[in-house]
Amino acid sequence: MTPERLNALTDGVVAIVLTIMVLEVKIPAEPTPEAVLAVLPFLAAYLLAFVYVAIYWNNHHHMMQSAHRVTGAVLWANHALLFWLTLFPLMIRWIDEAGVTAWPTASFGIVLLGASTCYVLLERALIAAEGEVSGVKRAVGRGVKEWASFAGYAAALPLAFVSPFLSVAIYVAVGIFWLVPDRRFVKRA
């Protein structure tokens, strides 16, 4: 089976996830600097979530360029990744409601951890589908970048109960780390 339709469904879901997040953005209540300041924290959370979803889409796009065969395991891993991505809008709504506090910030980290775990499972499933000839396998190698991100999120979860802003700093740092799309695949193309 070829990956075209898997890509089409993923693009559809990611496009909608990005768009429903923007529905949550509130307009400043009054034309005053104070009112604008009041919506800034939510805008920052929106920006972070938007960048993260975009990173997942970019990397998915890059990886699928090297994939030629999908199996049942690939479909499931991808579907699980989509599940976690759909939770981003909910997480930023909670942060909007409760502020940058321990539980919402830690939950954001759980969603990041879930999405990155499924992304790695998708990598493994794509490699297993094609075996030794897999282009994904040659590009991913040992997956150092993935493990470093896991470590970052795992550290951020307990830190949210010490200072949520420390966790946010880790999320931003890991995001920047991935902002450059996966060069391993660009080189192969």
Binding site: M1, R5, L6, L9, A15, T86, D96, E97, A98, P104
Partner: protein, 190 residues
């Protein structure tokens, strides 16, 4: 007619179905973990519905991958399938409103049964539209899994009148049955 646009249309509808469900999830009120509790039932319903829609999309993906042509009957069968699938977010919303009750469990079972029946209808329409030597003719002979699924939903609908939670367990059991998608289609691509 080729299969491309039918696939693109279906993918669009399915993507919207699985994403609008997330809008139904309640935003926790408050900062603590206790704020999550009121939404847990709905969250579980969301997760189950997400898996079910995924399974139906996998089946659609498999059937169409093995087909070369579609005709008017296939388009109609596909629309019929999408109609029932589009009711899944509605039932999830209902679960959010009233919780796991006889009526919501029953409604979920009816929607699932009609999704399963419409996939069977789609399969026979595709078989009729494709030549006897097309790949679908080799792999789409009536599968036992599909029959078990339909039977399980019929039983679940009956059981829901007395023990709704048993019906919910049956819904999960059917999902487990489909964890390994139809292998015949995978082999076909090789």
């Amino acid at each position: 007619m080729k299969t491309d646009r039918l696939n693109a249309f279906t993918d669009g509808v399915v993507a919207i179905i699985i994403t609008i469900m997330v809008l139904e999830l309640p935003v926790p009120h408050g900062a603590g973990m206790a704020a999550l509790k009121p939404g847990l039932t709905l969250f579980a319903a969301y997760a189950l519905a997400f898996i079910k829609v995924g399974i139906y999309w996998f089946q659609h993906h498999h059937l169409l991958q093995a087909s070369r042509r579609v005709d008017g009957r296939v388009l109609l069968a596909n629309l019929f399938f999408l109609f029932w699938l589009s009711l899944v977010p509605f039932v999830v919303r209902w679960v959010g409103e009233t919780g796991i009750t006889r009526d919501t469990v029953l409604a979920f079972g009816v929607v699932m049964l009609l999704c399963a029946l419409s996939v069977a209808l789609l399969r026979s329409a595709l078989l009729a539209a494709n030549e006897p030597d097309a790949p679908i003719a080799k792999v789409a002979a009536r599968g036992r899994k599909g029959q078990i699924t339909i039977a399980a939903y019929v039983v679940a609908i009956g059981v829901a009148f007395v023990w709704p939670m048993v019906a919910v367990a049956l819904y999960f059991a059917v999902a487990l049955l489909w964890i390994i998608p139809d292998r015949r289609f995978e082999k076909l691509a090789e």
